[in-house]
Amino acid sequence: MAEEKLINRYPDALTDVEMRYCPGCTHGTAHRLVAEVIDELGVRDRTVTIATVGCSVFAYEYFDTDAVQAAHGRGPAVATGIKRVHPDSVVFTYQGDGDLASIGMGEIVHAAARGENFTVIFINNAVFGMTQGQMAPTTLMGQKTTTSPRGRTAEEAGWPIRVCELLDTLEGPAFIAREALSTPQRIRSAKRSIKRAFETQLAGRGFSLVELLSSCWTWWDMEPVEAIYHIENTMTEHFPLRIFRDCLTGQSEEVDSNA
């Protein structure tokens, strides 16, 4: 009988610290994909993880790389400071929608506009998780949260922000993609985009960002599995999945859902 082989090694770029995320929270999936990419590109000892403020604040305990914990919203500025000192380092910020699109909107837009050569892993789960479920800039219309108890309305809180489309108006970004951590094929596609983003940085082409539609069943008041389909069927309506820009290949195309 052919000798048995383990086909999915635990990523070197993840520590063995147990992740504190809720059961079924796709932060864990995102961490694994980023770690696998870091391993595959062989850049772990050049990488600096920028942990930001949100459920993922302990990212510096989970990624087995150098790390800096940034103030809420300021990850892109911290990353800028590091890249301007060590251009040969591989820097990525790991940010939620509150960190990136609420308090940190200034920093993300200007880092992108400068074409700052680092990678952003943007987890969009349409809610503030760590602080117990408040409305975020990406909360969907009508979505109930602890600060939009009757469902988000335009009169009270305007409309959710599409970050990729916003940044796509700028010259600076070299890679922008929105993916979803929902079905198996979406997760495979997400990993491809994460790898492209890091490759863009390694090629020195400038700012790269991957938005990952993610689940927060705890604050969506759903079961973990139900939340996965909420991403696939509902969130993708307002946040279409697309490779907005890929300077390495000079193309942008719809995310081929059956790729």
């Binding site: 772990r44 000892d45 050049r46 600096v48 942990a51 604040v57 510096y60 087995d64 790389t65 150098d66 790390a67 800096v68 914990q69 940034a70 103030a71 300021r74 500025a77 911290v78 990353a79 800028t80 400071g81 590091i82 301007r84 000192v85 060590h86 040969d88 380092s89 200034g106 920093e107 837009v109 200007h110």
Partner: protein, 365 residues
């Protein structure tokens, strides 16, 4: 005069430019700034000269972004600096607190302007508390230097990096709109390529066999670990108090009234001491060159020998509180306060000296 590497070149220069050149002389090669009057010549100077010597100048999108770029660069082990003025320094407070909690060295310069609010662009000293008690939330403070001339702006900024590295703490050079924009002769410290000190904590590309991964962080869930950080920081302040407290004294060796003032106010008080005989009162000026650590000892010593202390300050009274703490009641402490950009003339101070003398029964003309 031939200019060899170690001789200083004498120039006629503004406080802002002397500050910027001081930063370069101190080894700063990374500057992240933002425009705000009255310190604009500093980022302008840095944007022109840092790239010439392989340094990095980056204009951030806000002071909030600037301080966090400084935090990142310091985490990566660079000698890094930023400068601003009152409202900008207020925006940087959270970032300063993060740098304290992460025990990272960096240099800041505040060219204080009239406040509060938008205030104006005139000189003031109303950020004394923000500098010495500020650095955002939590314990921990900025080591704060108070120059009173273009030369001291140059020298203090240059020397601030070594202090920051020695105490692994942020250092604030506290000046004002006049010191920033006035021009005076200044002996420039020659530029040298200062090697970076060993920074075992710094992040960046490394060989895993040489060091474990580094984490720059100020999140400490464990109460004892958080307290240990604070105790470690306090211990450095005690050491700094013993090693770098600095002040100057000027005037009578047998004073009846002690003047206390720093920065631009001390320039005025020097004139007052030189004209003391007009009031017929013997005066001595104590001028702190560091206000954290504070020169408590000399002020306390002279307070026990004089009949009264007069503090001259361009604010409604902030520095005066530290003076009162040092004097601890051994003599009355009065305050001549102007603000909003107004300043007392030497004549105004002399008039106040006569008034204070009358209060304590000292004869005056």
């Amino acid at each position: 005069m031939s200019e060899t590497a170690d001789t200083r070149k004498s120039v006629f220069i503004s406080g802002n430019e002397a500050t910027a050149e001081g930063g370069i002389a101190g080894g700063c090669r990374h500057f992240f700034g933002y425009p705000i009057t009255p310190q604009n010549e500093i980022p302008e100077y840095m944007s022109e000269h840092l790239p010439e010597i392989g340094g990095v100048y980056l204009q951030a999108e806000s002071e909030v972004a600037a301080i966090n770029m400084v935090y990142g660069a310091a985490a990566a082990g660079a000698r890094v600096m930023t400068t601003s003025s009152s409202p900008g320094i207020a925006l940087m407070q959270e970032g300063l607190s993060y740098m304290l909690g992460s025990e990272l060295p960096a240099v800041f310069v505040n060219m204080v302007r009239g406040g509060p609010g938008l205030g104006n662009i005139a000189a003031a000293q109303s950020d004394y508390w923000l500098a010495t008690r500020g650095a955002g939330h939590g314990d921990g403070r900025c080591i704060t230097l108070t120059p009173y001339s273009v030369q001291e702006l140059h020298d203090f900024t240059a020397g601030a990096f070594e202090i920051a590295d020695r105490y692994q703490n942020i250092v604030m050079v506290l000046a004002d709109a006049i010191l920033a924009t006035m021009m005076e002769p200044c002996e420039l410290i020659p530029r040298r390529d200062l090697p970076l000190p060993d920074r075992p904590y710094a992040v960046g590309p490394h060989d895993r066999s040489e060091r474990e991964r580094n984490i720059i962080n100020s999140l400490w869930i464990d109460f004892d670990v958080m307290e240990a950080v604070n105790l470690r920081i306090e211990e450095r302040y005690t050491r700094a108090g013993e090693e770098i407290t600095d002040w100057e004294e000027f005037g009578s060796d047998d004073p009846q009234i002690m003047l206390c003032a720093y920065g631009i106010s001390a320039r005025i008080c020097e004139s007052v001491v030189m004209r003391a005989d007009e009031a017929g009162v013997r005066l001595r000026l104590i001028r702190p060159r560091t206000v954290f650590p504070f020169p408590t000892e000399p002020i306390r010593r002279w307070a026990e020998r004089v009949d009264a202390t007069l503090v001259v300050e361009l604010s409604m009274g902030q520095f005066v509180e530290d003076v009162r703490l040092a004097v601890e009641g051994s003599c009355p402490v009065e305050l001549l306060a102007r603000s909003g950009g107004n300043m007392p003339t030497p004549g105004d101070v002399l008039q106040k000296v006569r008034e204070v003398a009358r209060h304590v029964g000292v004869a005056a003309k």
